[in-house]
């Protein structure tokens, strides 16, 4: 089947099978930041935005992206770069494999939530497993980023 979607505001047209998942389609299209971490929707590594909402691309059927807007971290360079600055301040910049997904979730949270208190940040970020940091330095960095953006 052929689907048409926009990825990072660019129109793309791609042939997919009915049971293809978006993570593989995006990889095929050359978006290297979209990586597999678990295949059971449990780790957050493959998170992308569909119409602004974070979804696990390992479980999202590519056909469902037809006529929709997909965002990968390559599409939010300002957020990613500013967030990276804060990660660098708290030591949350370790292996980085989970970071593109986190940047996308933070980006979406910023659009949706007017009040980003500690609990709101935790609730949005909980699906992003990290084995390196122990989470607190990430949390502090995200808070600092949101504070700076206000």
């Amino acid at each position: 089947m052929k689907i048409e979607l926009t990825v990072n505001a660019r129109r793309r047209s791609v042939e997919v099978s009915p049971d293809d998942y978006l993570v593989d389609t995006l990889k095929k299209l050359g978006y290297k930041s979209v990586r597999r971490g678990c295949d059971t929707t449990s780790c957050g590594v493959c998170t992308v935005l569909v119409d602004g909402d974070p979804i696990p691309s390992c479980a999202f059927l590519s056909v469902r992206a037809d006529q929709r807007a997909v965002t990968t971290v390559e599409g939010i360079p300002e957020t990613a770069s500013a967030l990276a600055e804060e990660f660098g301040q708290t030591g949350a910049d370790q292996c980085g494999f989970c970071n593109p997904g986190i940047a996308l979730t933070v980006h979406a949270m910023q659009e949706k939530e007017s009040d980003t208190d500690d609990e709101t940040i935790r609730r949005h970020l909980v699906g992003h497993l990290c084995r390196c940091t122990g989470y607190q330095s990430q949390h502090e960095a995200i808070k600092a980023y949101l504070g700076d953006e206000k």
Binding site: Y21, D39, P56, A59, R123, V126, G127, H128
Partner: protein, 266 residues
Amino acid sequence: MKFKTYRRVESLDEAYQLLQEDRKNMVVAGGGWLKMSSRTLETAIDLSALGLDRIVAGEDTIEIGSMTPLSAIEADSGIAALASGILSQAAGAVMGLSFRNLATVGGSVVGKYGFSDVLTPLLAMGAELDFYGEGRISLEAFLKKKGRTADILKSVIVPRSLGPGYFKKVRKTRLDFAALNLAVVTTQRGYRIAVGSRPSAATLGEEAMEILNSADTIDEATIEKAARAVASLKYGDNPRASKAYREHVAYVYTKRAIEEVRDCED
């Protein structure tokens, strides 16, 4: 799961016909667990073009479209106002946010998953299901029916006339499935108690409900009896918890739930 064709249907009737045609045709709701299955399907039926993802507040009920993602349930203020917000809490207790953007209430209900967190409060709230085909049926009756339904769930309907409620999910980590979940709601006809992840699917604690609803006052002795009754429901072992621990926490949290709900009412 593999499938050969994918059909975004334009009407419920079209979906219904496809389902009747071939047992290897199936409605794919959110698709969160598709990868966990090794089955091969003929046609995956997508209902997303049918506008079934709306939450409509009526006078006596709130009707939740079957394709409503759990994240929308969690965020809905009308649902948060029901029974101390137990359905919002339960929806919000499932996995991470991105998963909840995918998973739908219809998928949770029709899948009858033992570990489901939303089935338990829905059962306690006395939810009804509206199927294309069969029509309306209580969730309670649906859960007792064996096998897979060939009808299509349109919506889940919860009554608005509910008193205070209580929801508890016992789990190892925030992202874990429940070792046990429990919901207590006060309704016009008295207490309703549901227990899920036993590890089999949610069930009503009918004996405990009877004890509470026939008692003159909800005193400590009554609560103790009700909690014992909930603890004597059918439980089993799995890696999340043993039968014995499930019985124990069912007992403890039933007591706490009833006390809390009772004190809220006073």
